[in-house]
Symmetry: C2
Subunit: 697 residues, 2 copies
């Protein structure tokens, strides 16, 4: 699952990494912004020149779905994304009588479509470069002053853009090139999102964790949703039509999607700190969580379902981080990164005017890494709340902080409580989200235990949190005393404002209040000595970069709309060529009957009629990363020919570099989606909706 | 708990690390062999010159207890070590009616002493340098031939030394300076070891994991055992008498003990590989195990007891490895190691004759690290059996391999089945060791799941092991079908030899047989391309080292008898001086009533009479490491004044370097041992035995 990929494969030669430079003919590298495509190379390689209409169509038909990507695939608001992108919704909708996650779901009428509370779909309407406005506001500032000024101007720009229409509009200022460019994006926001169809978990994630980030694969990792507004499906004349034959050998293929985060432009000092952090903090934490969830998923329902849900994210995250760490232990990566950094430093040194402008951003960034090293652990546990692994804690912190922040002028608030962000915060807080208290208590106890082990029993916050209680006693007291899992209780506290929150004796609210001073102090220090320093220095790095290379580079991924290019392409693994496609025959051969290699009943019965040569999954050399899950793959006629759901294991190093010889994106073929709808799931109507000719625009 | 310490604290200046050089006045660095003490420095610093009688006394009174250290502390075979060194025995002896581990135990008569099956006590009798014989046998050889020749000569030397008296004698060839010196050691072996006294778990490891490797501390981490032979206690006229007043400020203090393993002489390439391995394999595996055990320890008995037992080792190991990894992410360490390596390389380069002799061992070692990198994961899972975390698997492998190896001439066997090693193997195999099948099944399922995730479902061994079953199904089938947890079944198979093993249909035996070929192939490759290369190169490194420095250095720890020096000494932590001692008053102040900060009932009741100012634990600047647990601390009159049980967290970097400003050993004070025997546990007779005047030698 491609939620946040990141390294392997660069055990190969350093020469392969040279592709990290501006667009090189023949390479598929790059997650390009739509206003800065490598047009010359596209034309040279593929004879393709996207015009404004093509780009506008792509921009509107490719959407964001939560932290994933998606696409509009019919004129009636039908949205296609991955099954693994909506598992939280599926778990929340599942009941013993209607086990949506395990058994799949098909709405045969509009009325049967089920609401995915909390899920939103965003469609990019317009973009505006606001670099000059932001940089004017932060000019000459450093540390906390810099950060506060940037927050303030971003809050203002977003608020002005939003024009009080928070229910249907979202505006974000996105930071490209780590500070080199600021872009104000305006999205149409759809908050009434309903589930139309998902197949069973067992076929959506066939092969489970063992096959994740591997290929050959056989995953029907698809989910169909529909956006509604005012009680009816949204009309979406601009959408992608399906090309049932799928991708053709050699034709240019495009992935419009929302890659979440890459770290290709980090300095050597930042990469070193990242490696240390992955090795000493993040991977150990996720590994422990995996052990815990392994046993929790053996318990009775509903704990089992919640544990399996959490396990899937944990195992995916673990593979991603382990792939990143592997890449960061590869000597070739360091050679390239050191060489590139030395070259840019030399360019600055050789140019007095430039040097006067940018100074030595590398040294400033290195200093910030020292602070990271010193406070990362404590910051993560306390300021980010990892020591308190229950949703109650985050609810409580949101309530306590919102009560304090809502009274301040917009420009002075913590950025997540800015006027433009507030409606989203309120909606998530008030959304009814079922929880299993037994599951949450176990995770809370574990996270408290870990906090005590990592910070030591004499740390003032540990003492404040635990007092004379053990983590088990404390977790029990918190969970038994709190009612914050009830949406109505949260709504009451939100609507009651500061007075209601202050009067609350909910133990989580009391806990948050008790540690608010040290938590805020940690955050203030992090923002002043890390975040602001890195951002301000990165602005100067970008100046140096632009001075040398112009805008020929793509920026690191930021969760915003990008376009990747590529073709159907296998790769060499252990001396053999991995073919581009799998088929239904391969699925049947891999079926053992034991999870996660067990086809569901539907496939064993109705599925027997699906022809053995129907293509299932396929690989292409697109440059993708976590967040691209659910992206459509389209051809030059803007028809969808695949549904991206994963990368191969080599793609995990993609966080730091792209290796065209090895990195591959993995997609679901449209034929298996259509065929299974028709033959296996009784979804003829849905298949018809997908294949209906487009209405005139 | 000091079972295998290793990094922190060297966030300090590099200057502190200069102590890694030969004996420097004022530093307590060094785990010295008794034949090569830094006599001049000892005299200059402490005015102390150990004579032959003192050394002989120390050699015989300091013993090995399993993987820990210990000491003879009465004329009647009484052995003192740590509670945490015998927890496996305590768990095995525990029953619902006699919860030895939880409730403690005191034998009021010799008859009440309980046998610790499988535990042995070793007393060093003599040592002989056999370097010339080993090096003659391996001269000019490389790779597998080198390794086989070394194994053969070691097997012969050990067999000849043992003279068929395996029941009471053990002989080991120990490799010092990683190949620079080989020493044949002859031990008296005591296999009838009985439990005399242990306090409750709750006071032995008061503070548990949160306080482990921290100070101030309050652990009564003591166990008293007795060695028996021929149905009576062994007479031990040579032993340490107690000095109840404990250590005095400024006086020289000595720790004779068996530090297990340090890695101070590894090359930069080896340290780099070690860091990668800790980060990508060892720590994630232990972290997962911790999460699993966290929940298993919430189950009912007896699973709970086994899980807690396993958890204590897991959490200790995790802290150790995390401390090591932290040290290996400290820039100062790399500066020192790179500088030292460059200096020795320059010394070789500058000396043609030496260069001709030693060649470039660094390059050979670096090549071996490439192989490690390639096969470590698979080697650990399959060749070392980590994929099969149930004792049954190791029993089965021992049976299958012994059946094959016992038929071969001694010199051609796998080293662990050499004539001299065989009696120990047989004894451990036949020893009745209770297991909880439910616990073992969970761990087996988890380890099989992990193997599949790490190697992938298409790896040939994974396919062989799992077939069409899930890890859960396979683990259940193995555990339900096997009887290898019954000592009598194992004994029958051992005594039946190759025929019996071949005829066995025990599923674990069948599993071992099925993967024996790939397992042996992995081991052969590791020995030929890693172990032999590193050993042979290290011999040449040692030649270069001796050429430059003579024998002024101590060798890396090897689990054999060493002597460390030091004094009572606190240290600066966060700007404040940590005092040297804790007292009973501090224990009472730290008691919360919640595990692991809960004094047991005995201390709440009878313990109320123990004076508040009785010293509890104390710190000294001795250079110790895992394996030193249970070491006596003695004064210059060879009286014991403390019982080493831990290091502070800074000592975890001790695997790679010693920092005298920060590294501290943590010991139990004799006063709290004697006082608690008298006041809390009704052990007046035992206290008398400890304080009885020595009989004339």
């Amino acid at each position: 699952m491609t939620r946040a990929p990141g390294g392997k494969g660069l055990a190969r030669t350093a020469a392969l990494l040279l592709g990290l430079m501006p667009w090189v003919a023949g390479a598929a590298e790059g997650m390009w912004t739509l206003d800065n495509l490598p047009r010359a190379a596209l034309k040279a390689q593929h004879g393709f020149e996207p015009d404004a209409a093509w780009l506008s169509h792509v921009q509107r038909a490719a959407v964001r779905v939560g932290g994933c990507s998606g696409s509009l695939v019919s004129g009636q608001g039908l949205v296609m994304t991955n099954h693994h992108c909506v598992t939280r919704c599926l778990a929340e909708l599942s009941t013993p009588d209607r086990p949506v996650k395990a058994a799949g779901y098909l709405a045969r009428t509009l009325q049967q479509e089920l609401t995915c509370a909390g899920l939103e779909v965003l469609q990019l309407q317009s973009e505006r470069d606001v670099t000059a406005e932001v940089q004017a506001a932060t000019k000459g500032l450093q540390g906390q002053a810099f950060q506060k000024a940037e927050d303030a101007v971003r809050a203002r720009l977003q608020r002005e853009c939003q024009q009080g229409q928070a229910a249907t509009r979202r505006c974000d200022v996105t930071v490209l090139y780590r500070g080199g460019q600021y872009v104000l994006q305006q999205y149409e926001r759809y908050t009434d999102v309903r589930l139309v169809w998902v197949p069973e978990d067992a076929i959506a994630s066939f092969g489970g964790d063992p096959d994740n980030f591997n290929f050959p694969r056989w995953c029907l990792d698809v989910a169909m949703l529909r956006v509604w507004r005012n009680g009816e499906p949204v009309k979406t004349p601009v959408h992608f039509r399906v090309a049932p034959q799928g991708p053709q050998a050699g034709e240019p293929l495009f992935v419009p999607g929302h890659p979440g985060q890459t770290q290709r432009s980090l300095t050597v000092a930042q990469l070193e700190r990242l490696r240390e952090r992955l090795a000493t903090q993040d991977i150990p934490a996720l590994s422990e969580s995996r052990g815990l969830l392994h046993l929790l998923s053996q318990r009775g329902e509903p704990t089992r379902t919640w544990a399996l849900q959490s396990m899937s994210g944990t195992e995916n995250g673990l593979k991603v981080l382990q792939g990143q760490l592997q890449a960061l232990f590869t000597p070739a990566l360091w050679e390239i990164k050191r060489r590139d950094e030395a070259a840019l430093r030399a360019h600055v040194q050789a140019n007095a005017a430039l040097k006067a402008r940018v100074g030595d951003p590398w040294v400033d960034i290195e200093r910030a890494q020292q602070v990271r090293r010193e406070i990362d652990q404590t910051y993560g546990l306390i300021a980010e709340g990892r020591a308190f692994a229950a949703p109650h804690f985050q609810y409580a912190r949101t309530l306590v902080r919102a009560a304090a922040e809502r009274g301040k002028p917009d420009e002075q608030r913590l950025r997540e409580f800015s006027e433009s962000a507030l409606p989203g915060v309120e909606r998530r807080l008030k959304a009814a989200a079922p929880v299993d208290l037994a599951f949450e208590r176990e995770r809370l106890e574990w996270s408290l235990t870990r906090m005590r082990s990592l910070l030591g029993p004499d740390h003032p916050v540990v003492k404040q949190v635990l007092g004379a209680q053990s983590p088990a006693q404390r977790a029990r007291a918190l969970m038994e005393g709190s009612r914050l899992h009830e949406a109505s209780v949260r709504a009451q506290l939100w609507d009651g404002g500061a007075a209601a929150v202050q009067a609350s004796t909910d133990p989580f609210i009391e806990l948050v209040r008790a540690i608010e001073a040290p938590s805020r102090a940690l955050r203030d220090r992090f923002e002043a000595e890390v975040a602001a320093v890195e951002r301000e220095a990165a602005q100067r790095l970008a100046v140096a970069q632009f001075d040398r290379d112009g805008r020929g580079r793509y920026p690191d991924a930021t969760g915003t709309l990008r376009l990747s290019f590529g073709v159907l392409r296998g790769w060499q693994e252990a001396g053999a060529l991995v073919p581009t496609h799998t088929t239904v025959a391969g699925l049947r051969a891999r079926h053992t009957g034991a999870t996660p290699f067990a086809m569901p009943e539907t496939w064993l019965k109705q599925g027997a009629g699906v022809a053995a040569d129907i293509p299932f999954n396929f690989v292409t050399d697109h440059d993708i990363i976590g967040g691209n899950s659910g992206s459509p793959m389209i051809n030059s006629r803007a028809e969808w020919v695949g549904l991206v759901f994963d990368g191969n294991r080599h793609s995990l190093g993609g966080s730091f570099f792209y290796d065209g010889a090895l990195n591959r994106a993995v997609s679901v073929h449209p034929a298996v989606i259509l065929k299974s709808l028709q033959e296996v799931y009784g979804g003829q109507a849905l298949a018809q909706e997908l294949t209906a000719p487009a209405a005139a625009p």
